[in-house]
Amino acid sequence: MKVIKIDKKDWAGGLDKASSGYRFFGPVEDKECHNFKELDKGELPDFNFSNTRLSAKSVVFPQTEAMFEYSLDENEADHHLMKECRKNDAPRAVLGIRPCDASAFLLVKRNFDNPEYRDPWWVKAYESTTFAGLACNNPCASCFCTSAGCGPFDEKGLDVLLVDAGDHFLAKVVTEKGRKMLAAAGWNAETDADIEALKKDAESKISSFVPTDKLKDKTTMELYNAAFWEEAAFACLNCGTCTYSCPTCWCFDIQDESKGKSGIRMRNWDSCMYPLFTLHGSGHNPRGTKIHRVRQRFMHKLKYYVDKYGDGIQCVGCGRCIRLCPVNIDIRKICEKMNSYEPKAGDCNR
């Protein structure tokens, strides 16, 4: 595939040129961290980051998203009708998304876009987005992407892979969408520069590895009943930090909010850590205690997903949950425990 050389002095100009055809999103530093936001006209993404505090999933799957709206005001023509909210589906491009976060969209896609169900809002937002990723030249010590079917230069979720090569970017064209975006920016200097060496160098810096090979052969109920969950869950506060920062957590909750004579139906990120998660109308919650919730999170990512889709774990190894957990619960350790688990007589933790 083609590689285009983009001189950094042509970066701002190219983005400006392309901005008539794209809404740009990129990492911006605010307070103590970088996060993705829609860039204002002329605003440049700030690539001086290792990874953003929160993942880029909100660009396609916002924490709060209005789906429908209604009015009870009889003076309005379509009062008492639930109408789909208008969305801005104009083409957008995410600049500087890390390969792990981009490949996370492919995992999440299985939930939102499959033969049985297509989530219109997620699909529209996803399809209108071009992912121009930034390769990770210096992965963190807590990243384990290469154990999670991903890597610092992984291309599979991307349309363009940008590699920072000092005074220029090397932009590898991965898809037609990516080619169009580069063309819109006027970047067309093809080069035969090889990014393989940089890729190998970055991969060699990954220091964290997690075995996942035996998960699929474990018996679900044996893992579910394993004794280690009590210890693994003890420290957990049941806050939503891990799930909210995770690029692959997709659960949401639907809420209606009204004010005066109008209202909206929206969805908000949900978290398996929360007491309202899976709470039945009867008041019963099948995941009513801390152990149930912690087990749900890890079993979903590392066992149910593995069994259901047969394509590895529901994790891209970005390491956010490890870095942000207030009590240092480490998915790498839990995964090791699950992967190496052999049931012992007397193990039961229902």
Partner: protein
């Protein structure tokens, strides 16, 4: 402080062997720099898991709520004050506990250390009052006293206020600490400036509730933000709902908060919600001469009625 570890293990082993407790709640070595994980130990042979250093900022009183076992619990000054509050509020019984007091010299501010370097922090160690911070290409030394967590720098109750065992000699308390300089600045602001400050303070909040869940005071079976029949607070990212959560939570902590700093430490986006709790702490101190969690014999000012109350409206 790391030499506390041996003593903590020795005491814990003894308590478990003698059958005085069913479990000891403490910290085990974390997998990330500046992080330890709260844990329990049930067997004497497992006490080697327990550690103590400057990264034990999570308040262990949080792990005692409604437990039925006999528990040995490691408690620095603030944890011990929250244990007192827990006992007063019937969340645990005094006779269930063997409190292993840890005279504390303050926890290290992991956020501050992370902010001082562009490179990833690979390890943080301590030697003779110096903190040694290693990144891939550099090793820097800092004075420990310059790196204390903000609440620890202001702490005037480093020694446990209630204990059955001690992991070290008591430490000298910090004197002449002005706990409320920043609060007075906010009090002096005109309303619109305050409004702007609070807007900005909570703008990064993602409603993960790490602050609430790390707080030993927040043990309600159903928090008001989780109440759904009827629902009290919206669940979206609406800034009004977010601020409602923070303000109301702070009020629920009035007269009970020990400024242990667990909330701010736990926050994934670095919000200083202690600005709210310390304002209420200041009010309780100025109005009632009250500091939370110092005595088992006195109830917090907001859950008690006194016939000699100075205010007429309540008589």
């Amino acid at each position: 402080m790391s030499n506390y570890t041996d003593k903590i293990r020795e005491i814990s082993e003894r308590l478990l062997k003698e059958g005085r407790v069913d479990m000891v709640i403490g910290f085990k070595q974390g997998t990330m720099p500046m992080m330890n994980e709260p844990c329990f130990v049930k067997k004497p042979e497992d006490v080697s898991k327990l550690v103590w250093d400057s990264h034990c900022g999570i308040n262990l009183a949080n792990y005692l709520t409604d437990r039925k076992e006999k528990i040995g619990v490691i408690a620095k000054g603030c944890d011990s004050r929250n244990i007192v509050t827990h006992i007063i509020e019937n969340k645990i019984k005094r006779e269930q506990l063997v409190i292993i007091g840890v005279p504390c010299k303050g926890m290290i501010d992991r956020r501050k250390i992370a902010s001082m370097s562009d490179a990833e922090i690979l390890s943080v160690a301590e030697q003779n009052g110096k903190v040694i911070v290693k990144t891939k290409d550099a090793e820097k030394r800092y004075e420990r006293t310059d790196l204390l967590q903000k609440n620890c720098a202001l702490c005037v109750h480093r020694n446990p206020v209630i204990y059955d065992e001690l992991a070290a000699d008591l430490v000298e308390e910090q004197k002449n600490v002005d706990r409320y300089a920043d609060i007075r600045e906010i009090e002096a602001m005109p309303p619109d400036e305050k409004w702007h400050l609070f807007d900005d303070l909570f703008s990064a909040c993602i409603r993960c509730y790490a602050c609430r869940n790390a707080c030993p005071l927040c043990y309600c079976p159903t928090c008001f933000v989780d109440e759904s029949r009827p629902q009290w607070v919206g669940k979206s990212t609406d800034p009004i709902d977010t601020k409602t959560f923070h303000f109301l939570r702070a009020y629920h902590c009035a007269g009970r908060c020990t400024d242990c700093g667990a909330c701010e430490r736990a926050c994934p986006v670095g919000i200083n919600m202690r600005l709210l709790t310390r304002k209420l702490e200041k009010d309780c101190f100025e109005s009632f001469g009250w500091e939370a969690g110092l005595s088992l014999d006195q109830r917090p000012p907001l859950d008690v009625y006194k016939t000699n109350d100075p205010e007429d409206f309540i008589k």
